[in-house]
Symmetry: C2
Subunit: 411 residues, 2 copies
């Protein structure tokens, strides 16, 4: 948050840009907001906010409306509403069983989205990027969004180098060192950078900005699919690591007597809490896929003892690893995403009990475990936030006539 420093003279342009960023971020994450709301949440003066909102309105990014209800005495404070059709991003998702695309507008409005099943197995990156383009470009055309597009974000089930979107490892697709960002940029041909990140990191970002973890500074987001991903928010910031690879909780070694993991190691956590372990325990060692997992959950709902036992054992392993993560990170919130969110009612007891028994008392006392509140599209929402980020950091660059979205200025 940036405080008003208009008095500081020579740096007024820097200050203006920082303040604009503050306002734009507030509107994006919490809008629509009245000027009074913005005074409260940013600490900027009413005059500064009037000027900045005026700039954004002139650029077509917000619409000012009479506030319906006064709230405080005196003149009603006009409401600034982000215009979602004036700045949009394309969010893409490469998951284990599906690919997805969404067109998301300023303010977080999901204008349109689509998801298509994909067969499991190893596919060339050119095939996947072609499929993604076929899914995504019609969204852009249908909503006439070419001019408003300001970024592209991709959620990827794998280990990703964030700097350039190189996929270091994606066992589900058989990828190693695939330059996904560059391939997608070429295939989409939208003249925009493509930012790629790990799907669990983006799930964590989505939960922090728009889900179960709003306002929480220390969060562990767990994403369960075939494997297990983790996204960590530490003191309000994503945990990145030295090269952007942090958070690979699925490859925490928990069982030296366990089975070989797809990563080559033995007894990684995902060998005990991933899809395969659940289906094996449920007596379906040859099954795979989301439908098979959901069938086990449906059986459990219907009272099947075998399904309940398989989920219970998986829950114990989930708690076993979580206890270690709670001891390591001392989070105040754990969000169960992906299949863990769907199985939450059947594993909550085991997880809580394992934490009571195995985590240290001090960090145990402060942690809550909840299912995702965003559902299966959490990662798409995270990908859209990734794509919006450069715009939120310096919206002035996007308003200037020399910058690329000249479009916005001329709108």
């Amino acid at each position: 948050m940036v405080v008003s420093r208009e008095a500081s003279g020579q740096r007024s342009e820097t200050v203006r840009r920082a303040n604009l960023s503050t306002i734009v971020r507030e509107l994006h994450l919490r809008g629509p907001l009245s000027r009074s709301d913005l005074v409260c949440s940013t600490g900027l003066t009413r005059g500064a906010i009037r000027g900045l909102i005026g700039e954004l309105a002139a650029a077509g990014l917000v619409r000012e409306e009479r506030s319906a209800r006064g709230g405080t005495p005196g003149r009603p404070s006009p409401l600034a509403r982000p215009r979602h059709d004036r700045a949009t991003v394309l969010a893409l998702d490469i998951a284990v069983d599906s690919i997805g695309a969404a067109l998301v507008g300023f303010g977080g409005c999901v204008i349109d989205h689509v998801r298509a099943d994909r067969a499991r197995g190893h596919f060339a990156a050119t095939r996947i990027t072609a499929d993604l383009a076929r899914l995504a470009l019609p969204l852009v055309e249908r909503h006439d969004a070419r001019e408003s597009l300001i970024g592209i974000g991709v959620a990827m089930v794998g280990v990703v180098r964030p700097d350039d979107g190189l996929v270091r490892l994606a066992p589900n697709l058989g990828w190693q060192d695939v330059p996904l960002g560059a391939l997608l940029a070429r295939r989409l041909n939208l003249d925009l950078p493509v930012m790629v990140a790990n799907e669990a990191d983006l799930g964590a970002l989505a939960e922090q900005r728009r889900g179960a973890a709003v306002g929480v500074d220390d969060v562990l987001y767990l994403s369960g699919e075939v494997g297990v991903g983790g996204g960590l928010i530490v003191d309000g910031q994503p945990l990145i690591g030295a090269a952007g690879y942090a958070g690979e909780v699925g490859h925490l070694p928990v069982n030296p007597a366990g089975t070989t993991c797809r990563c080559g190691s033995i007894g990684c956590w995902e060998t005990e809490v991933g899809e395969r372990a659940l289906l094996r325990r449920a007596g379906r060692p040859r099954a795979s896929g989301r439908a098979a997992v959901d069938a086990v959950i449906a059986e459990a709902e219907a009272g099947s003892a075998g399904a309940l036992a398989a989920l219970s054992e998986t829950g114990e392993w989930l708690g076993f690893g979580l206890a270690g993560l709670v001891n390591l990170f001392n989070p105040s919130l754990v969000v169960l995403g992906g299949v863990f969110g769907r199985m939450a009612p059947f594993v909550a007891h085991e997880v809580e009990e394992a934490l009571d028994r195995r985590a240290l008392r001090a960090p145990r006392e402060v942690v809550r475990v909840v299912p995702t509140s965003l559902g299966p599209d959490a990662t798409l929402i995270g990908a859209s936030e990734l794509a919006f980020e450069p715009f939120l950091v310096d919206p002035a660059a996007w308003l200037s006539p020399r910058a690329r979205p000249l479009r916005l200025a001329s709108a």
Copy 2:
């Protein structure tokens, strides 16, 4: 780092304090420094630095000396040397087998230090604090340091709530919820706040400021004694967690078929890499203590197959857990402290091999594992840095005649 913003008018006092903090921190961590060094490292103007150094010299905190060698053409830039006897802290350490105390001066100079063995076992906090006071107060008296003391920092082998120095759990001493900070403040009676932190967290801080991890932003410090502690630096900042308990790597569950841990859980990492496991493997199941561990290391140095095998197996477990931590945190440096530092030559091969085999390739590629460069007193150095921190953050408060170290101003 704070940039020069002297032009900003009304906030010049805020700016002056921030700049003073920058200079004092630089001198503390890297001093003595010439004015030219400070211009380079802080981005402040030469004039600003002259003024700030003048203030510090007037307060007696630095001495300006003619620089011995010119370095650059032109007039030699005077050298500002921190005066270690004008601002001092007391650093204390409660370890498993010993207690320690050091008097440390501004600039990080260890003026004096002392360590005393203590018998293992459960002792009342009043006993330990009395022992510590008997160890520490003579240091203060001997160096006539009562007037220069500005803080007290304590390294504690246990889970500590940093806000108030409450020890939540210290299995080595049998403590649970012991208000160590308050007890020590009363016992020492030095009219100074006592800051307490976990010994591994302070080890990490020491390595980052003055040891193997200077200039490294993503660091895992491992401290091995009876148990295993961890201190993490993430993107340059200590990993704290929601309530200050993060980093309990010793209680990462790695072996569900393992033995019961002192924390009550089963198969925690420290049950496989802690002192007991090593001594058991070395055929000394009834031995304990630093001397017994060092005897095993000495035997290994002399070529004993049994000792080498015991160390090798411990090294494999060390690598097993480290692989998970590398996957989780993606650090660029792992520093082996405590007994792990002493056994490093005998476990390095196993650790590297386990990382090759078990860690994901991407984070594996960027991580180095090194022994501590600070030796057994790393935690005392960390405790001194903890105690100096409030002074580094706002030295102006300590120079003002109204603030507590009126002493400094009148020096």
